[in-house]
Amino acid sequence: MAFIDLKYRGLSCRLILFTTLILAFEFQGTVEGAPQEIDRAAASPSAVYFGTEVVPILTKLGCNGGGCHGKATGQNGFRLSLFGFEPEFDYEAIVKESRGRRLSLAAPDQSLLLAKATATMPHGGGRRLAVDSHDYQILRQWISQGAPAPSEDDPHLVRVEITPHQQIMHSESSLQLHVTGAFSDGTSRDVTLQAIYQSNEVGIATVTNSGLVQTSLQHGLFSVMARFGEQLATFHAAVPFASEPTQLAAINAELDKIKAQLLRDAESPREWNNNSVDSHLFNQWRQLGIVPSAVADDATFLRRVTLDIIGTLPSDSEVTEYLTAPRSDKRQALINRLLERPEYASYFALKWADVLQNRGAGYSTSKQRAGTTLFAEWIRDSLEANKPYDQFVSEILTATGSQNENPPAIWYRTVRKPAEYVESVAQAFLGVRVQCAQCHHHPTERWSQSDYYGLAAVFSRVGRKGGFADAEVPTDEMIFLKESAVVLHPRTGKILKPQPLGGNEFSLGLHDDPRVSLARWMSAGDNPFFARTMVNRMWAHFMGRGIVHPIDDARSTNPPSNPELLDGLAQDFISSGYDLKQLIRVIANSYAYRLESAPHAGNVGDTQTFARFYPRRMPAEVLLDGISQVLDVPTNFDSVPPGTRAIELPDENVAANFLDVFGRPLRMSACECERVDAPALTQALELVNSSEIQRKLTEKTGYAEQLAISDKSPEILAREIFLRVFARHPRPEELNAATLFFAAEPDRGEACRSLLWSLLATNEFMFNH
């Protein structure tokens, strides 16, 4: 392991390397406590560089963290740049501010910096550093050398490397990582102890701050990020579910059997060959020793895919028809049928209206608000026509003119400021979160302020005319391209030319709209973000979790769980001409999408590889519509035409307490995470006792009342109710319990209401599973 090039630092450096390894093994998880004899060896006379040696210590000790001196207001008058991304600023703060009293060049040990960090003087942050520890020596040495300032000529960090890079690990085992920093002068050194570590799946593995990885009893994939300075490196690992050769052989045999079965299945051979999804998933299951759950029955699949594609429950007759239809390729046919239903466009338009922040709040008049309806309709029409996705996005981003005449321009109504352009575009279309880079280098990704403001520059010429002068959010605004505008780097003051994330500056003629260049860059076949983000978004919609998770947080430090699968889907999507319906067909026809949600011994604990269906609660609108459908009593919303379903509402500002408590988003961000499925007491109270639910249960023309006055037998009633609510036939014990209840309840109407309510309140109803 050649960690160190000794060209400039001499023998003592070799010793540092040696000691860090010892420290790493013997003093896991501490930042202090290095034995003295080692530290003396470390006290080298060679020059200590502020940027690459002093600052990393401050970072490691947490001095410049967001809860301490790194926050915008500093702490007790001492402020450092967040995570040490601005060494010049930190140098000023440490050496010059406060009349230089933070350092004592004559008596380095008396320096406030060291006295506070070692808590020899009272320090709000407590003792962070042991006197005479290795880090202490470095800081002391830098002070005694006269606290040299960072200079352009100092060697700067070029990259960091992590070893091992990837590894298969057992559960409850540990592994020491080593991190090496390579510098511009050709040297490198071990920075294992100075690096910051973070595990992306703390349930599976944790990492100490000296880089020791420890796996838990859980199985699965995880990554550990190591950061030193502005550079990152990632360690990828897997803890297989089975690792014994005999176990693995049995699992492989089982997977072979499933595959053979699939190939025999009448509707499958074509799929297996054309649909790379299955083979990528099977490969991963083999690698991790996972056996997927069994294939779900027809009733479960029908309900699942209907909810996912059209946001609507299957009706009683659809259930009966599907369950009795002959077997051959009916799942495929069902998917195709659903994609042609008008509800498909409505449901996905709702999803896009969230992401595109088609916000209704904040308008005082219906005239002002009219725009949300126009935009909602435009989105819906685009989806119904199956407009290619790249075109859909391009029409939004490059929109100009009247918002009333060109509805995609309404996106610019909510998204108004440089920060909003950058963050919405990055999160919605590129699947990355760049917010951090507005103020400082992103701590877990390569994004810098130049990336952030370079993207902001793409939108700097967006001009606006008209609208309501007195309202914060005007209505019919004209969006046009201004002649010129500049965006400056907030720190360096340099003019930043429009450029895409991670790409080169656009070459633009005088009259070229940089937004057009951005849209073109996105839809280029080799764009690393655009297609991947969309296929991942759709995958998460159907599978309950993204291949990159969370879906808008792609980072080298947060890798996809199955990169081949993600790439395969993205390539297919691009080759199809960004065909959204085709993408849905590919995902919904996959083997994984058909699996049961219940785990078995071979995949219990799997939350990453889609070896079973991950259940999730229905979105608020789908749930409310579902209840209305079962009880045959529509919801009456204000200010929209009667009969409008919740999934068809033009914006989030149509009053409905049910939707609010069940997590309808306020459309304040482009993140789908704003829609929450966290359960809450208010939801349960709404379901148990709201006047709206009571009304639906008791309305004369409603299903409950109609059943009550019918002369059907309790058994028939129970069968009908189960089919209607759960889209399946009751099990014998359920039929038994329900009929017993009818027998015990003298009031037939009440019995119908109670049974219906109880089934609607079950997780089986509220969840897509």
């Binding site: 967001g66 809860g67 926050k71 915008a72 207001t73 709040a361 963050e423 999160q427 979160r433 917010q435 951090c436 914060e472 949600s597 219940a598 991950y614 259940p615 609660r617 609010d660 408590v661 997590g663 988003p665 306020l666 304040m668 961000s669 993140c671 929450v676 966290a678 359960p679 809450a680 007491l681 208010t682 939801q683 349960a684 109270l685 148990v688 006792n689 006047s691 037998s713 309790p714 058994e715 359920e734 038994n736 017993l740 209840f741 009818f742 027998a743 015990a744 309840e745 003298p746 037939r748 009440e750 209401r753 109670s754 309510w757 109880s758 309140a761 079950t762 997780n763 089986e764 599973h769």
Partner: protein, 468 residues
């Protein structure tokens, strides 16, 4: 019915009672597991000042400090206004002459006169004060970060699953966002449980908690049915959503079928004399209701005091927003302050009498102060020239009582004209740091926002030492 029963293969002697009994066995069996799960979930914050609460009396529109808690009798007439200060039972501490009941119990509260911030409109100021953060936009009441109450509710949720952790009493046609009580990135589920309307109104009832009469006897049936049909195993879902969803269902049913929480809303259980002492109006009964809710386990009871109810003078305004165009600031105060004086003083007296003064911290404030200098304009309602005061975030006063805090003192001061803090300038976050300390909440704890960025509960603010 008998015809139907005859078709039926099951024993006809099965009764409702018997059926329910079968259900309750299920309850017991599930109860234990549930309890164990809760214990795990609640483990984190256990033992840290759990039995504490905050009542926030929110004076929307902003309390005119110059006419209430920060009198300037020596200032020129156009500043000091119509009113004079009176002495209180704490030497040197003065309040407005229209707050005589405050004056009798000044030893039981502290006035803070040196709070300020920089948001001059209602919406921005609401967000600034109630979230403890600089809002992304100065306009609109929708929070981008959770309000203090949401954070408290979220952190108390697992400790106190059987109660309404965060409630907000406010005007009937409003929602959580109307007063910036929204939950921001915590999600709407953590918005307050709303108590809309005037509790002194005989028709006052709580939506979703007041049971529809015909439902009362049926809830136990439904609860048992729900249990017997909820067959999806919790193991199916590793995110915990499924499990928590069942937990809240059962909790809601417990709330509705047990008396504890519903009783908290039943003000008729209070002594008539005490109800009179609080005042038989919106202010008084809202304050009393807040005390009852906190006794029933609520951790953060927000009370938005707008209109005390009943007839109001023509030159008054609905809430505390005392611009000249809205009202005659002094006539409005003459009418409004007696209701306010009664309600606040009764609440303070009551919690001390009941020995709840260590448990409950009471905060009385609005989103900002009002301009120290009186301005004259034609009232839109009255059509005549009248005095008023505009928005003034540069200086505001508030009252703190209970919470085991030091009382009978004034903290900070404003300059001679009441324009800005002179001594001890404080920010809203210093107040929240104090309140969180009382609640045992670590303000460095963070929640991720929509971009995954960890947002600490407070980024700044120090507990106000004089109160501790």
């Amino acid at each position: 019915m008998s015809r139907v029963a005859k078709d039926f293969r099951y024993p006809q002697h099965l009764t409702r009672r018997r059926w329910l009994k079968a259900g309750s066995l299920v309850t017991m069996a599930m109860g234990l597991g549930e309890l164990l799960r809760l214990r795990v979930l609640g483990g984190e914050l256990r033992g840290k000042n759990q039995d504490t609460a905050v009542i926030l009396i929110w004076l929307t529109g902003g309390l005119s400090h110059m006419d209430t808690y920060d009198m300037k009798p020596n200032a020129a007439l156009e500043y000091r206004g119509d009113f004079w200060p009176i002495r209180t039972n704490v030497p040197g501490m003065e309040v407005c002459e229209h707050l005589p009941l405050h004056a009798k119990i000044a030893d039981r509260f502290t006035l803070v006169r040196s709070l300020s911030h920089s948001f001059g409109d209602h919406d921005g100021a609401h967000k600034r004060v109630l979230t403890g953060r600089i809002p992304k936009s100065p306009s609109g009441f929708v929070n981008d970060a959770p309000s203090v109450g949401c954070i408290v509710g979220k952190l108390r949720e697992h400790l106190r699953p059987e109660v309404l952790n965060f409630t907000s009493g406010q005007r009937a046609d409003t929602n959580a966002d109307s007063y910036s009580q929204g939950a921001g990135y915590l999600g709407r589920a953590y918005a307050p449980f709303l108590i809309p309307g005037d509790p002194s109104d005989p028709k006052f009832s709580i939506p979703n908690l007041s049971i529809v009469p015909q439902l009362t006897s049926r809830l136990n049936d439904r609860r048992s049915l729900l249990r017997s049909f909820d067959r999806i195993r919790h193991e199916v879902d590793h995110s915990g959503v499924l499990e928590a969803s069942s937990r809240f269902q059962q909790k809601a049913l417990s709330l509705l079928t047990s008396d504890a929480v519903r009783n908290a809303f039943d003000l008729s259980q209070e002594e008539s004399t005490l109800r009179d002492r609080y005042g038989r109006n919106a202010y008084g009964q809202q304050a009393l209701l807040a005390r009852r809710l906190v006794e029933a386990g609520t951790s953060f009871a927000n009370v938005v005091m707008e209109h005390p109810g009943g007839a109001s003078p023509a030159n008054s305004i609905y809430n505390w927003d005392c611009h000249a165009v809205n009202c005659h600031v002094f006539d409005d105060a003459r009418w409004r302050l007696p209701y306010f004086d009664k309600a606040v003083s009764a609440l303070i007296e009551d919690i001390y009498t009941r020995g709840l003064d260590r448990k409950i911290m009471v905060i009385v404030m609005g989103e900002f102060g009002h301009t120290p200098r009186v301005s004259y304009q034609k009232g839109t309602g009255t059509g005549i020239l009248q005095p008023g005061r505009d928005h003034w975030p540069a200086a505001m006063s508030l009252l703190v009582s209970g919470g085991g805090m030091r009382t009978g003192q004034v903290i900070g001061s404003t300059n001679a004209l009441g324009e800005h803090p002179k001594d001890r300038p404080l920010s809203p976050n210093d107040l929240w740091a104090t309140a969180y300390r009382h609640l045992g909440i670590d303000t460095e704890h963070s929640f991720p926002d929509y971009s995954g960025r960890p947002m600490p509960i407070l980024t700044d603010g120090t507990p106000i030492a004089e109160l501790l």
